[in-house]
Subunit: 343 residues, 2 copies
């Protein structure tokens, strides 16, 4: 029998911690056959479970007294908050006491923590957070969505390689169409960052399809859309906000008597649409480039979102995404040294 | 009797030129009581009108032989394409042969043309394109949405002042809530650009409410949302793409027999929602900072969008937006010289 996959989960990350984290963890143990260790204040976790009549006997708990709050300066995870649930969980991952780490806590702290505690893969300049977003066709991974506000072109090329490997291995996309997010299709469009990155991507081991305008992302124009963390965050947040705007409009549409009657006819479809637009169905966002699987769950994750993030961590391990990325990085290195030899 | 407002319209800008431009212009003459001059190849305009049985006797035509294509390098409007419909129209505006200019042509060329032919207002460092977007509450102006890929903080402050004046005078918003688009609420979030701009906006003559995440824009979190042209373009285009994604989902929802029955109950509401999400209802985007009113209509504008852009040009003039901006700029200057004297 194969050994069970062990997922370490930050019990005190996100707006709904620890209750929703506990619920998601219990469900994951039952349905996914994984081992879960919840990291955080043990007494609080046990009390929360008891207060809510939740049986946590199937879940391990590893005590960590502190919580890394969202507003805390990210670098403090390394010293003042080295006993926070996030820092302790990341150390456990580094030390091999688990195979993956899931947290809905501060993006900045998780990036710093993963970079300095778990470390980066060999050759990776920066970790990037990739988010899989719904489109009218197949989902698209946008990255970076917030780990690095400013990036150099060679970092963006690595993001493209990592996103491409992820979408191939985890989402089963054959030869993922990889695009650079820009304000126009022509290679000369955008800032210096885009012009330079465009040139480099042409020679990277990805299926580079050129620039993509943000408008084309929801319409399924690419499988992987690459940009810096500031720009990616704007795209992601606009996506989210528009999803909420639509929900508000739909509520209007199906309110009142006639609206409710209409709603009865298309209830299933409304729910399918809501589900499609609901980030919690897509699990968390991988911190690509970390030496081991680290998954950032959305700050407002509910039990379903935590469950999906854990499921994603499991797939990440089972599909050897990290090995895949390492192979692609070797290829970049080989190509560039070949060029240097020829040049 | 007051003199009629004279609007110059580029007959060869946008994907649907010249037919939709002509239609919008005819309607504007009828309904808005403005004088319109269409600029472009006269023979082609007359032929298009005749082919479509349109009576253009109420519209003036000013001949210009060339068209500034979207893919043409923007700076060429100054020399090789100085006889294009866009360049000729801008010169007419500069020379006082009209009170405002409307074009659905290349954003880049219009920015260069307005800057060098019409010139900027005194003290304005860069022109910015502002776009009024629908939200769950009142509409919000996002600027810059594409005139300047890279900006300095002092430029963003001017954008805030211009956007604020516009929303106040044209949309009747009392003391517009003006925000900086950023990846978090705290003053320390974002790139150097955001951190520095945040500080300056605190002392600018606008109602600065702090940083806004892109998610809050569709939810009505601000009346004016300021950023550089690269970032603003991403927000705008994601907005557009999500609007299309929703349209596709709605089509699915109200397809088939049950869907069609449901649709009958809420047809009015569906149409109201479509109208709310339809850019053409909001007219064009003003090129704020130009010495005279220049309106950029969307590249895929139809007759309705051209009509609304012309209506917007009329309001721009009637409400003295440019005078309002000039007054606010004087105030910035006074405040900063006061500070220097005190410092």
């Amino acid at each position: 029998m194969a050994e069970k996959i062990r997922v370490i989960v930050d019990a005190f990350g996100g707006d709904n911690a620890p209750l929703e984290v506990i619920k998601g963890a219990i469900r994951a143990v039952d349905e996914l056959g994984v081992d879960i260790t919840l990291v955080g204040d043990e007494e609080k976790v046990r009390k929360c479970a008891a207060d809510n009549q939740l049986d946590i006997s199937g879940v391990a708990i590893h005590h960590a007294p502190l919580v890394m709050a969202v507003e805390t300066e990210p670098t403090k995870i390394l010293k003042e908050y080295s006993e926070s649930s996030m820092a302790v969980g990341l150390r456990m991952l580094h030390d091999g006491e688990g195979d993956a780490f899931v947290s809905a806590g501060s993006t900045g702290a998780l990036t710093v923590g993963a970079t300095f505690i778990v470390k980066r893969m060999k050759g990776i300049k920066r970790c990037a957070i990739g988010m899989v977003l719904p489109t009218t066709k197949e989902p698209c991974m946008v990255l970076d969505i917030g780990a690095n506000s400013e990036c150099r072109p060679d970092m963006l090329v690595q993001f493209a390689v990592m996103g491409s490997a992820y979408m191939n291995k985890l989402q089963g996309v054959e030869n993922p169409r990889t695009a650079l997010i820009n304000i126009g299709a022509e290679p000369t469009k955008g800032r210096d960052q885009e012009v330079e990155t465009y040139k480099l991507l042409g020679n990277a081991p990805v299926n580079f399809i050129g620039n993509i305008e943000a408008r084309e992302i929801p319409l399924g124009g690419a499988d992987v859309a690459v940009t810096d963390g500031f720009s990616g965050n704007l795209v992601l947040k606009t996506y989210e906000g528009m999803g909420k705007l639509i929900s508000a409009y739909l509520k209007d549409m199906f309110g009142g008597v006639t609206g409710k009657i209409a709603g009865l006819f298309v209830l299933k479809r409304i729910n399918a649409m809501r589900k499609k637009l609901d980030y919690s169905e897509y699990g968390g966002a991988p911190l690509l480039g970390a030496a081991k699987p680290v998954i950032k769950a959305h700050g407002s994750s509910n039990a379903n979102a935590f469950f999906n993030a854990i499921r994603q961590a499991k797939l990440y391990i089972e599909n050897n995404v990290i090995t895949e990325i390492a192979t692609a990085l070797e290829e970049i290195k080989a190509r560039s040294s070949e060029e240097n030899n020829n040049g």
